[in-house]
Amino acid sequence: MIESTKIGGVVVWAPKGRIDAAAAPNLEQEMMSSIGKGAEDVVLDLSRTRYMSSAGLRVVLVVARDLQAKDGRFAVCGLNDEVKELFEVSGFSLIVNIVADRDAAVAAVQGD
């Protein structure tokens, strides 16, 4: 299940559970569709996500790439220890703005 809300012009996506090969295509489609319709300030809130695989990482890569090409802004927040390790080992922490929680993520995107 993917919750989507808009906070002060920032679109916040909050997928629940696992982002693996089964869930990743749907998340990618939803987020890319939103960006295609004009969303340029985007937050991925992972506070309800307990597991992410390489398929989930690819969604983050594709979204970050598309937003960069559109001069959009992107932040990720709410990572548990396991997901945080995945981001660090893969180097995604070098290309994606990672912050603690949703408020900080929205503020970071608005303030970029």
Partner: protein
């Protein structure tokens, strides 16, 4: 116009490793080549939605054949495995069938009209009356994709990340880039190759293999040390 299907990563890396003029394959240590081809297969299957992995394990999420002979054999092998293994273990396991995969991929490139065989060497079909533009585009596209990622700050597409992992592991950058470009891109290569977990696993397997061979060679030369 229908979109041209992607070449497999094995085909792309073989094209990068072929010398345009002589048709000879760039020298890559046999054990490195085997691990490289295995990594290419796994990355291809992952991007086609057949495999998924994390830091501990690799799993088959869809065992349906993709319709490419060189991919479907390994997919069936992984799907039929009784144990669960991490990506690096699978790179090593699949490397045992790399020779047959490489032969099949070269044959496929000939069938696609991209290479021809001459005096036992594979040659690009440059200047061919049948497919001159198509073949030129295949080679240029692969190289341009790599250069575009390495010489900019743009976030790469997943396919380009995989290609950079493979080019790095095979030292193909020494052919594609000048010495100055390579120095300039070194830090960028280091970052980008981390983005793909299978690419990382393949890189670790190759480094371990190279270290083991170096250690064995040193022992052979200095048996009393």
């Amino acid at each position: 116009m229908s979109q041209k299907p992607h070449l497999t990563f094995v085909e792309e890396i073989l094209l990068l490793l072929l010398d345009d003029d002589t048709g000879a394959m760039k020298r890559v240590a046999p054990n490195v080549m085997e691990l490289l081809i295995a990594g290419a297969i796994l990355m291809d299957l992952a991007l086609r939605g057949r495999l998924d992995c994390d830091l501990q394990k690799m799993v088959v999420v869809d065992a349906a054949p993709v319709g490419e002979e060189i991919l479907d054999g390994p997919l069936a092998e992984i799907a039929g495995a009784e144990d669960e293994a991490d990506p690096r273990t699978w790179v090593v396991r699949l490397s045992a069938r790399s020779k047959e995969i490489q032969e099949a991929a070269l044959k496929r490139l000939v069938e696609r009209g991209i290479l021809r065989v001459e005096d036992r060497s594979f040659l690009w079909v440059f200047g061919s009356r049948r497919y001159p533009m198509i073949d030129d585009r295949e080679e240029r596209e692969v190289k341009l994709r790599i250069l575009d990622v390495l010489l900019s700050d743009r976030i790469p597409a997943p396919r380009d990340v995989a290609l950079i992992c493979l080019a790095d592991a095979s030292n193909a950058f020494q052919v594609i880039l000048s010495a100055q470009e390579l120095r300039h891109a070194a830090a960028r290569i280091e970052v980008v190759r981390g983005f793909d977990l299978i690419g990382q696993a393949m890189g670790r397997a190759i480094r371990k293999s190279v270290q083991d061979i170096a250690a064995a060679t040193a022992t052979a030369h200095h048996p009393f040390y």
